[in-house]
Symmetry: C2
Subunit: 241 residues, 2 copies
DNA sequence: CGATAAATTGAGCCCAATCAAGGCAAGTGG
DNA sequence: CCACTTGCCTTGATTGGGCTCAATTTATCG
């Protein structure tokens, strides 16, 4: 629906964009080579260590970002320190909040992560001039809205076990580009991050992981590597279907 | 930033739009009289009784809506019946999810409500042709996203008392157009709806309202009318500031 | 290998859910 | 006008799921 451009040969593309995920599935997919060149002049690729901050809560934003590799956690914090992760961004996802006003999120790399940082001002201007880009950003916002609302149901109404099961399904599904093989996949979040995402404590997450393992729905190898043995059982445990 | 139109005299406007809130603050604010006329040809005003359904979960959507009066609750339901209200729409708010795919919400009038129903197909087409309208819808989505993320923090990390206090602040602030006077304001939701919004049970909501009353932070007149006696205390009780 | 952080496990407690009873206001029919 | 119903809310007693605090165990990394 959006894309109608860029089957052009690699050599037309700015160096920065040639092997970029964002160009294939992200917001850059709707840009022509000329537009890519224009925006790439004000872009830069950055590698982030696990835990590294991308934007702090309340900070003035001057760049947007595309996630190229890794996972970024968006979080909000209460004045007394309680924290909630309100979204996860995976490769080809966009990070940013057009139309400045409001919003007050922190963004941290959850694992080693590459992002492409774009000039906010430039992209805003281009979104104004290129309707397809504006629409692409609109769709991105709607996707995030859908995700946030799904998660509201999870946080408001699901039990600890259901939340953990829902999380595993989310990662298993939404995280295709993450390292995975026959023996399962790698969780891109620590127990502490998972707890912050699920509105639980570390201990409860750990116990529920253990419970899912003991009921043979999943298998664990170390604390990060997960294999789903009974997908149907996991869906049931997540209160789906 | 959006608006650059319509200081035109009332008589230029379609009858339907003349006294409409949506024209002043809603998405219709960016439309010219001619565009309003075009869209209003495929619009109709409806009055909804409390509890009346606007769209069911999973239903195919053929209209968008503007809320003119009252309150609309957007909700999601688990297969076993557990329900979560994921958003409230007040007068001048837009109800709808452009770009069809995904999203699976029910919408119910919480109180007696007037909505203006617009042809989805027409508005989609107009949003494609009128950049300002597309941007207005984009901003609307971002506003909803901000709200959803605030609520994620509330549902994930706040206690029952903090949730109830947060809810009262939300209504007191966001519901300016609702009936109010010196003795406070009218809650637009029943205890059951409040519970569904806060991820609590009716009984807990009732108890926490009682607790806030006993600590002289609010006063209750019947079960619907609320007066805030100690705004600062309420903010503290909501874990803000 | 030792040091330090991360994850698991256990014991006890507390907040909110559950179960159950009763109050209150509006409507209905005799 | 009063008995009765019905829907909504409040209050009480009890239970239980998830939190807290604390002790190990297991990864991770110099």
């Amino acid at each position: 629906m959006d894309g109608h451009v860029t089957n052009s040969s690699l050599s037309n593309l700015p160096l920065l964009c040639r092997f970029c995920e964002g160009r294939r599935n992200g917001i850059c997919a709707v840009l022509t080579p000329a537009q890519l060149l224009e925006i790439s002049r004000h872009s830069s690729r950055r590698q982030l260590a696990p835990g590294e901050k991308i934007v702090a809560e309340g900070e003035e934003i001057s760049s947007y970002h595309n996630v190229l590799r890794g996972v970024v956690a968006l979080s909000k914090t209460l004045s007394d320190g309680r924290q909630q992760i309100v979204g996860l961004r995976f490769p080809s996802d966009f990070i940013g909040r057009p139309y400045g006003d409001e919003s007050d999120l922190a963004a941290h790399a959850a694992v080693e992560t590459d992002v492409c940082s774009l000039s906010r001002e430039r992209l805003d201007r281009m979104a104004f001039e290129v309707p397809d880009l504006g629409r692409r950003l609109h769709r991105q916002a709607l996707k995030e809205l859908d995700e946030a609302r799904d998660w509201l149901l999870t946080l408001g109404r699901k039990t600890a076990k259901e939340r953990v099961a829902s999380f595993l399904l989310l990662i298993a599904a939404g995280a295709e580009p993450l390292p995975r093989n026959a023996t399962g996949f790698e969780l891109p979040l620590s127990r502490a991050h998972i707890a912050d995402f699920l509105g639980l404590t570390i201990e409860t997450v750990s116990r529920q992981m253990g419970a899912l393992r003991r009921s043979r729905i999943i298998a664990l190898e170390g604390s990060r590597r997960v294999a789903i043995h009974d997908a149907e059982g996991l869906r049931r445990a997540a209160a789906l279907g």
